[in-house]
């Protein structure tokens, strides 16, 4: 893989989180496969970045790599992850905890709040674990702070909710609790991995609104993983579009939504329902290739509507187009069809 020029050296240096050319490999007895190769993205303080892609594109793996929660068999095989100037690429669990990378500086919200909350402990007990990351508090202090956080995330009867168990809350309330837990240790960076996918449609907007409001109020950096352009538009300042384990296009939300340039981004946009009756949705045929059988050349070429013969041979690199924008495509002068 050719060494790539940094997207934007200056912004990467000042970025709170900078992921550069990261590859993640999962291996077990039956072999190993790279689920994520060459991911480059960055987030500054107070900035919200959306990572969008189909399932299997490696977006969740990317954020798990940042938090060091890849799980059994998963390792970062290439590239680097820097957080607030520190290289955190290869830290073990103990070191991550010691440096406060778990909870105190990086908070995380998971996809399914019903499964991410321990069913046999109360909300208060789980919230206390997060609160204790910042300081030693007495029981009454923990209770007061816990109540404050639950009120902050808009839970009805916050004081009583501390003594309730996860199954006694609704799905939306559980995700509010997860948000409170993630923020209670006052992190600088909040990572939200498809935070609304498991929720009812009517609740999704409320939870997204809450995350966006708290992110702005607390000046947090936010990385939100999603497969939904609606979420991108509502939540983020910048977007990274991922396909088959690579970032294929990045830019500001405005740029990407108004003028997507990578054929994959355009195909994703075209597959969105417009809400106008009678208009047809253009579905993107096929699915994301599996890590075991990656196409040669450009990974998108088998599904690409504008592919040329060279696309199946030459691997495109992520080239910056402007200060804020980069794209991975051989046809950089892609037809503006």
């Amino acid at each position: 893989m050719p060494l790539q020029p940094s997207l934007d050296a200056a912004s990467a240096r000042s970025a709170l989180l900078a992921v550069e050319n990261v590859a993640v490999t999962y291996s077990n007895r039956s072999g190993s496969h790279e689920v994520c190769s060459d991911v480059t993205l960055s987030v500054g303080r107070g900035e919200a970045l959306a990572v969008i892609g189909e399932s299997g594109s490696g977006k969740s793996v990317t954020v798990l790599a940042v938090t060091g929660l890849l799980g059994a068999g998963g390792t970062i095989t290439q590239g680097s992850i820097r957080f607030d100037g520190e290289d955190i690429t290869r830290l073990d669990d103990r070191e991550r905890r010691r440096r406060g990378l778990r909870g105190r500086r990086i908070g995380m919200i998971f996809q399914n709040p019903s499964r991410a909350l321990d069913p046999v402990f109360t909300i208060g007990q789980q919230l206390n674990e997060a609160l204790r990351q910042t300081d030693r508090f007495s029981q009454p202090e923990l209770r007061r702070k816990g109540t404050d956080w639950l009120r902050h995330v808009g839970l009805p009867d916050p004081e009583e909710a501390l003594d309730r168990y996860p199954h006694q809350l609704s799905g939306g309330q559980r995700q509010r609790v997860m948000i409170a837990i993630a923020l209670a240790s006052e992190p600088d960076l909040l990572i939200a991995d498809e935070p609304t996918t498991a929720l009812d449609v009517t609740i999704q907007a409320q939870v997204l609104g809450l995350i966006r409001r708290l992110q702005r109020e607390l000046g947090l950096a936010l990385v939100i993983v999603t497969h939904d352009f609606g979420v991108v538009a509502a939540m983020a300042d910048r977007v990274a579009v991922m396909y088959a384990g690579q970032v294929v296009e990045t830019g500001t939300v405005d740029e990407i939504i108004r003028a997507p340039r990578h054929p994959y981004t355009r195909a994703l946009m075209a597959s969105l329902p417009t809400g106008i009756p009678g208009t047809r949705v253009t579905a993107l045929p096929g699915s994301v290739p599996s890590a075991r059988s990656m196409p040669s050349g450009c990974r998108f070429h088998p599904r690409c509507p504008v592919a040329v013969p060279a696309c199946s041979v030459t691997r495109p690199v992520l080239d910056s187009l402007s200060e804020s924008r980069a794209m991975r495509c051989l046809l950089e002068e892609a037809p503006a069809s």
Partner: protein
């Protein structure tokens, strides 16, 4: 919760009644009776003497009548008298209960701690030599009969020149001496319990460790011991508790032979002797006592689920 306990109590009584009928009937079919044994020892057996003696003990009446006489006594709290010694059965049971309870509680404590500890360790160090050693050890101790392990322990102790002091003394009378007498039989019983528990704990922990809430706990900075011992173990505990209950039953049956081997004057020894003598009232009372203990332990296990899992607590409320 209260109605739940009440339902379980009624069910327990039904089980106990069934046990009473079974033990009563079963032992009447065992050939030879106490009259034979007693007169054999006296050395003068004539049919007339046999019949007279049987009538004296009420053994000539039809079985249903005998059962009625016995069960109505039991219901009124009278377990009858030993046919052999003439002592009150309740006194004998009372004296034998304490050593058995002490032995089995000690064994379940040692077994529980060892087994759950080994299971957690094997799960956390899955695939490492620690895991291998623990798994092999648990298979071995699951397969070895307690009788053999008990005899082996005695022999091994004798070989290194250690003899368990005799005779048996109660814990309140001589605590140190008592512990020396009880710790080895308890350990023998505990190994079987630990072997079964560690296997289940390991698989239950492995299942829990892959759960999302474990990853979420890591993500919010909970210490490894907090993640695995608090969140992991508490979630893995329900199947382990169930097995602990059934293991207590196994352990009780193990005490019969272990008490015999280690000379502990508990229920097992009492049962052993009364079976040899066909001393019906003592046999029946001892078996009923075992049944009662088993039922109470299972009730306690059932109630403890609610302590571990709030969802079960609510479903019962």
């Amino acid at each position: 919760m209260l109605t739940f306990a009440l339902r379980r109590a009624i069910l327990g009584l039904l089980v106990l009644a069934t046990v009473a009928v079974l033990v009563f009937v079963a032992f009447r079919f065992v050939p030879g009776d106490i009259v034979n044994r007693q007169l054999e020892e006296a050395g003068a057996v004539t049919p007339a003497l046999l019949a007279e003696k049987r009538a004296q003990l009420g053994l000539d009446e039809p079985l249903p009548v005998q059962f009625y006489n016995w069960i109505s006594g039991v219901a009124a709290g009278d377990l009858g008298k030993s046919l052999w010694s003439g002592r009150m059965v309740s006194d004998q049971i009372g004296a034998a209960l304490a050593p058995t309870l002490q032995l089995s509680v000690l064994a379940i404590l040692i077994g529980g701690i060892l087994g759950i500890g080994a299971g957690v360790a094997a799960a956390l160090w899955r695939g490492t030599p620690v895991d291998m050693v623990l798994r092999v050890a648990s298979t071995v101790f699951l397969a070895v009969p307690q009788l053999w392990l008990g005899l082996l322990t005695l022999t091994a102790l004798a070989a290194i020149g250690y003899f368990i002091p005799l005779p048996y003394r109660g814990f309140t009378a001589a605590p140190l001496l008592n512990l020396q007498q009880v710790v080895f039989p308890a350990a023998v019983l505990a190994l079987g319990v630990a072997a079964a528990l560690s296997r289940l704990t390991r698989s239950a922990m492995l299942e829990v460790v892959g759960a999302d809430f474990i990853r979420a706990a890591h993500a919010r900075g909970v210490s490894p011991s907090g993640v695995y011992l608090r969140h992991g173990l508490k979630n893995a505990l329900i199947p382990v508790l169930t097995l602990l209950g059934t293991q207590f039953g196994n352990l009780l049956s193990g005490t019969v032979i272990i008490e015999r081997i280690f000379n502990i004057p508990g229920l097992g020894n009492l049962l052993f002797e009364s079976v040899a003598n066909r001393d019906y009232p003592v046999i029946q009372a001892a078996v009923l006592t075992y049944g009662l203990i088993t039922i109470l332990v299972n009730l306690a296990v059932d109630l403890s689920y609610g302590l571990v899992d709030p969802r079960i607590r609510e479903a019962r409320a």
